[in-house]
Amino acid sequence: MLVEALALSAVLFTIGVIGVLTRRNAIIIFMCVELMLNAVNLSFVALSTLHGATGQVFVVFTMTVAAAEAAVGLAIIIAIFRHTQTVNLQNINILKG
């Protein structure tokens, strides 16, 4: 099932990427990134059947990182929402050029 898991991982990762490309809501984009991370986790877990438990250890860290990112990221989104009253990225572009 290794190849299938890796393929699934790739597909999910791609869906996450497509999500990032198509959506404009900051939170949804962030969730798409989470999907990508999940896809990678699947790869780690799948590969750990090959190489031992290191991959799973990595997944633990990835989840921690995801949590930390979620904390900071959502705080940032709240901060921008305070300024712009929106999280639609289309409306958040005073920095350009």
Binding site: V17, V20, L21, R24, A26, I29, L89, Q90, I92, N93, I94, L95, K96, G97
Partner: protein
Amino acid sequence: MMIPAMTPEGAHPLATTVARLVWLLPLLPLLGFLINGTLAMLGVAKVGPADPSAGHDEHAHAAHTGGHDDHAHHAPTRHKFAGIVSLIGPGVLIAAFGLAVACFLAMRGVEMEHPYIVTLYQWMPVGDLNLAATFQLDQLSMVMVLVVTGVGTLIHVFSVGYMQEDPGYPRYFAYLNLFIFFMLILVLGGNYPLLFVGWEGVGLCSYLLIGFWFSEKANADAGKKAFIVNRIGDFGFLVAMFLMFANLGALDFGNVAAKAAELPMGGVMATTICLFLFLGCAGKSAQIPLYVWLPDAMAGPTPVSALIHAATMVTAGVYLIARSATLFSMAPTAQLVVALVGGLTAFFAATIGLKQWDIKKVLAYSTVSQLGYMFVAVGVGAYVAGIFHLVTHAFFKALLFLGSGSVIYAMHAAYHATHKHDDAQDMRNMGGLRKFMPVTFYLMWIATLAIAGIPFFSGFFSKDEILGSVFARAHGSTLADASLLGVPGGTILMLIYGLGLASALMTAIYMTRMMLYTFHGPNRTGEAERPHLAEAPWIMTGPLVVLGALSLVGGWLNVPALLGAIGPVGVLDHWLEPVVGEAALRTTLGAAPHMTHETELMLVGVAIAIATAGIAFAVWRLKPAALVAKKDAVAPQGIDRILENKYFVDEGYDKGIVQPTLDVSRVVLWKGLDTGIIDGLFVNGSALLARAIGWMGSQLQTGQVGTYAWVLLIGVITLLGAFTFR
């Protein structure tokens, strides 16, 4: 550098004589230049304030009134340094002439087979080019030195009177002295580059003197034109020098002649060198196609025209060819070119001279024409004849110019007295001047007869010798054997002879015309001015008298064997034999030019007939009484118009060469290539391109996270593509 065959300096017979002071010859006028130049500067200069940019305009008016803005022609008083300048200017010339005569006497006293060469110092010791500053004193340069200093002295003296009221008096003498300095360098220089120094130096002085009254645009233009046209010739001279150095390995006269003699007869190299040299001569000596500057050069003060543009500088080309006689004798084709160009120039200049109204312009074209004669002479290898004509021409043409100067002086004084502004040089404003200035009148007639070739005047001898030489070389010479563009040399020589005769006829006509219109008939100057017309002071007429005498007797320098009865035969021939004899003999295939007495008599007869006919024709045909003053004259038509406008050659040059060059430079090169393509397209274009890319890049930076993610992802797939599909 000295070729071994040459006598070492110290052992030369002249080394113990006064000739060892030959370096002093040019130094004297140089000294004069320095003194007069300093005086000129002191006379006009007003050193500026310490801070030139402070208070830019406050003292403008004061400076203006205190400045030297007086109009040149209306200077009321003599220059404050006039006394000392009058002493120094001609003084150094008299001294130089004295020294020249002393050298001449010394030279006559010794047996001299080789030129006397004085090395002053190492000039350009570079690589194989070991050029030294050397003076070469030999028979040829002696003749030239005598002419230059002699005629120069007379003209200096004349100038003291002529220029006395000019505010630029010291400057004038400074330039004149400088000219003599360079002229002496030219004739004394021991190698081509040094000759070139003098060559360009005299050109420079010519430039400065033509533009002496620089506030008139025409004068400044004329000076510039003279210099630039001369430079075209100098280009040829330079290339000739490069060719000599590259192929003959030397640039001094001795070695070049020695090496040239080893070249193949009629070879490409000798011909090329000679043709380039001749280009130089054509520039300096106003031959077709570079003669156009000389008539314009009459914008300078008249004594300048006499000295530079008649007697000395313009004959430098003749001197150069005589100096390079060996080279030319190896290149008959080139000689034919020289002679043909000379003949054509003589002819065409004479035709133009027929219809000029400005007295100096007539003389200018006459000069061009006579220079053509000289080139015919040196072209056909009759070097002595060329030099002979050079000398006699120096006498009579200097006289003519000075005489015309005297006339102009009188005219000018008359106009000045009545504050009338009219052309003081136009013959239509003259007429009947014989009454007012008899000395000038008689002397100028002498010169006219001389130039027309009336027997026993100086011009007769020299001109006759030239025509005779051409005729003689039409058979049995290297020239006759050579050909030019397929035409046999003999035919060309006959053509040249024909041209010479025609020119002689026209010379007689236009000179007589000039005399008639100027001195004969009624006076057209104006009622008010007429009482003010008067003969020039003695300081001006004095030199005229001397020149008149020389014009009369100058022919005795080289009396032909045919007229052996009247004096010693061929003095100049003998004198110059060591310098040009060998080369001349090479042209005539080793034999002295030989003609039967009958032929010679016939030639002389034809020449006399033509001269007389010309004068007679002019006297018969021209009616001075019918002339009207310049302001009333009508525009000429037909051939007259063409001749009066000098065949529109100047206009043609302007339209065909000068303006196109300027336009191409401005439009194509500068605006097009320089600012357009190189600067616009490449330099600023690439800067613009970089900026444009930068601008596009910054437009991509939309501020949208979506865009950034897209760009990032495109990067990702490209990168992954590079990794996976290698």
